[in-house]
């Protein structure tokens, strides 16, 4: 009896296991790791896809400049077909497990991007924590570039976009899970960082605003910083004001923001936002220590309020909502379709009332 049970177990367990196991046995050295993938629309053939993959060529030595990568790009009518065609050109099995960056070409994202995102969100081996960005002028040029001091292929990309390496107020990294969520949710719209190729460097300082189908506007580096401050409370950023022809720069120590959507007596809606920032001078004329700080703070406030108001109005005019005001409205009102329709009519007329409260903590090490 006991032995029977053991035999049953010995048969059932492998069968169960066999149904659970994913991809087959393939050693790590028989795999080609894709470190970045780009999806473009070719110039002369706007209905087809141009898929570019950057494949890492592993080497046991990791030294600056030793990174070697192979770039393959193929044009096909679908993304999946293009990837299969690339597979037929390389000697090892493609593995997207370490692909941390998916670049959408500028042309693709300004036409219609959901098809490409569909492919990214469906494949099992594509990580949800991969970054999504827009490549300018197209994804292929950005991906083909090899930064000369890279230690291993793709490292520059990972460090630049992630929080491990540089942390810049102009870079807003977007994870694919976040992007996919925002691309489907009513009341919040996705943003994507824009990667430019300049000489042998990646330049990421602008932000694209997208609606559910395509790119609709681009934020300048300055606007990107303010977006990052309001939305992500990015601390490694600055606040600038020009006072008497001299520009003063404050390095942010603390930042917080909150907002309410208030219905006025006349039926119109106002978004009241409060932003608290405190920081230390990084650039200021000598003698700023003995001047009147509250006046300086006042100037900073005015300046910041104007800039933020300009940003919010620009976003509003582009008819997108990357801050998720609509989601807030839906969350705080009855959960019916009526609410959503109401918001659609409120948002274009929404007025912004921004109160900045900037505090100077100190003047840095010199007076």
């Amino acid at each position: 009896m006991r032995q029977n049970k053991l035999i049953q177990l010995a048969i059932v367990l492998p069968i169960l296991l066999a149904t659970l196991s994913g991809c087959g046995f393939k050693d790590i050295d028989k795999r080609f790791f894709v470190v970045a993938a780009g999806i473009d629309r070719p110039v002369n053939n706007p209905n087809r896809y141009l898929v570019t993959l950057k494949l890492a060529v592993p080497s046991p030595k990791i030294e600056p400049g030793s990174a070697k990568a192979q770039v393959e790009s193929v044009e096909a009518s679908t993304i999946a077909e293009a990837v299969r065609l690339i597979k037929s050109r390389v000697d090892k099995e493609l593995d997207f497990g370490h692909c941390k960056l998916y670049l959408l070409g500028d042309r693709l994202s300004s036409q219609y991007y959901p098809d490409a995102m569909d492919w990214i969100s469906r494949r099992r081996d594509i990580q949800n924590v991969a970054y999504i960005a827009i490549g300018r002028p197209d994804a292929k040029t950005v991906i083909e570039m090899n930064p000369p001091t890279e230690r291993f292929p793709g490292n520059t990309l990972f460090l630049q976009l992630g929080k491990d390496g540089t942390e810049s107020a102009y870079i807003v990294p977007v994870f694919s899970f976040d992007f996919i969520r925002k691309a489907q949710e009513r009341g919040i719209d996705p943003v994507l960082p824009i990667m430019n190729k300049e000489k042998e460097e990646y330049v990421i300082s602008k932000l694209a605003l997208l609606n559910k189908n395509k790119t609709v506007a681009t934020l300048s580096p300055n606007e990107t910083e303010i977006y990052n401050q309001i939305s992500h409370h990015m601390k490694k950023s600055t606040v600038t004001a020009t006072i008497n022809g001299q520009s003063l720069v404050l390095a942010v120590n603390k930042i917080s923001s909150r907002y309410r959507i208030v219905k006025e007596a006349n039926g119109s809606h106002i978004l009241k936002m409060k932003i608290y920032i405190s920081g230390i001078f990084e650039e200021a004329p000598l003698g700023v220590y003995s001047s009147n700080w509250s006046k300086l703070e006042q100037k900073f406030n005015e300046h910041y309020e104007a800039e933020a108001n300009h940003l919010l109005t620009k976003i509003q005019q582009a008819e997108v909502d990357p801050f998720g005001f609509g989601l807030r409205y839906r969350a705080t009102h009855a959960g019916s379709d009526q609410t959503w329709k109401a918001w659609l009519s409120i948002y274009p007329q929404l007025k912004f009332e921004i109160k900045a409260n900037i505090k100077i903590d100190g003047t840095g090490i010199s007076d």
Partner: protein
């Protein structure tokens, strides 16, 4: 009597049989000279018999060291245990004159502790009991003697604290000892295997040479078995936690010893799972690594001609043979094995492209973290446990390893050590407390 004894024994040079007479009587004595202390024989028997200061039958009757033997069937076994058999006026007496060659109570070698007692148990049971009694001066210490082995007649001693021992465990131990069928019992490990079943993956009885561990266990209501002829004691029941617990943990700095306990658990997990995880991650789920590691492994593996599991088998074979060789070699050339194996083979195997450099690290982690287990019989059982996990890893990858570990955990939680749950990590088994002692075996 002498005729009967000479027919019982094969022709043996050291079997001494004498018939002696003085003015009053004739006695017969028989003993095996190699087992006996001849000076004792002469002091207790020959000299008083010849001097005739007192009638010899009177001496024999009054001295309690002379035991009357009623059953002639016992003669052979009594003589073989180093007793002198003597027949005085038709009565048969036995006198213990055994001379046992043993190691002089040695320093601990298998289970060392830095700040703990350095004396180990002795190969002679009486000496061991002496050591234990002096560490455990309690009137509650009970001892029962039994003999196991149809040929070896190995004497074993059951020690327990009368008040703290759990009667259920005690009766289970007694009945298990009763049911043991074995010809020769030579070592503690043999008895352990007989008591807990030979197919068990993990030991449920601690084998130790440390008298302080024995005393601690007695105080916690455990049962200790001592064997004549080995310097190891068996302690039961035991939990997994106690195998992970070195005696030092009670002697050294509190915080560091807690760290060390954690480290041991961590080491055990590593040594069991590392080879399987290596296969699973290298061949099925390389996305588990960070990118840097994945690339450097892929780079160092690209010269390796065989799939990952062959690589693992090569290295495991090498490390296991190294351990085995350094155990088997005579002490004088033992260090050669480690030098040749560890330095030359490890480095060369990687340079020859037979294994990847990461595999060398995996192998050494597996070997070293195996040795952090303080109790030797657990360490050896754990040494085996990595192999069953490799099989599902080869065929099913990470899923297989997960299922394998789950099955292992199921097995461990299912285990019982003499009726006590085995895999309880929090808290050792509590001592049984009662105000009166246990009823002794009828």
């Amino acid at each position: 009597m002498l005729n009967r004894i000479t027919t019982l024994f094969a022709e043996a040079k050291d079997l001494n049989t004498y018939r002696m007479s003085n003015k009053e009587m004739v006695i017969e004595i028989a003993y095996i000279s190699s087992l006996c202390d001849e000076s004792k024989v002469s002091d207790f028997i020959l000299v008083p018999f010849q001097k005739e200061l007192q009638p010899f039958d009177d001496i024999v009757e009054r001295n309690p060291q002379f035991q009357i033997i009623q059953d002639p069937a016992m003669w052979a076994s009594i003589i073989l245990r180093g007793f002198v058999l003597l027949s005085v006026k038709g009565r048969i007496y036995a006198l213990d004159t055994a001379r046992i060659i043993r190691n002089e109570t040695p320093a601990t070698q298998v289970e060392t502790a830095i700040l703990g007692p350095q004396l180990a148990l002795s190969e002679d049971m009486v000496d061991s009991i002496n050591i234990i009694r002096s560490r455990y001066p309690s009137p509650e210490l009970a001892m029962e003697e039994k003999t196991i082995g149809s040929m070896s007649h190995t004497r074993i001693m059951i020690l327990y604290d009368n008040r703290h021992v759990d009667p259920n465990v005690l009766s289970e131990v007694r009945s298990k000892l009763q049911s043991i069928r074995i010809d020769f019992l030579n070592a503690a490990g043999q008895l352990e295997r007989k008591l807990s079943g030979k197919l068990g993956l993990l030991p449920t009885i601690i084998i130790t040479e440390r008298p302080d561990r024995v005393a601690n266990s007695l105080q916690r209501g455990k049962i200790v078995l001592l064997l004549q002829g080995t310097m190891f004691a068996l302690i039961m029941p035991a939990t997994f936690y106690e195998f992970m617990h070195a005696v030092d943990d009670n002697y050294d700095s509190f915080w560091m010893t807690r760290m060390l306990i954690l480290l041991r658990y961590f080491g055990v997990i590593l040594t069991i799972t590392m080879p399987a995880l290596y296969i699973a991650v290298i061949s099925y789920n390389p996305e588990l690594f960070r990118v840097q590691l994945a690339f450097s492994i892929a780079g160092s593996r690209s010269a390796v001609p065989y799939p990952s599991f062959i690589e693992v088998f090569i290295m495991l074979f090498m490390i296991e043979s190294l351990i085995e060789a350094s155990l088997r070699l005579p002490k004088y050339i033992g260090s050669t094995a480690t030098t040749v194996g560890g330095l030359i083979l490890g480095q060369a195997a990687q340079q020859a492209g037979l294994v990847s450099s990461i595999m060398i690290i995996v192998t050494s982690v597996v070997a070293i973290s195996n040795f952090v287990v303080p109790v030797n019989n657990m360490s050896i059982s754990i040494r085996f446990m990595k192999y069953p996990l490799i099989v599902p890893a080869i065929f099913f990858g990470l899923t297989g390893v997960t299922v394998g570990i789950f099955a292992l955990l199921c097995y461990m939680t299912h285990l019982r050590s003499f009726g006590k749950p085995y895999f309880r990590i929090f808290g050792p088994i509590k001592a049984y407390t009662s105000d009166i002692g246990q009823v002794s075996e009828e």
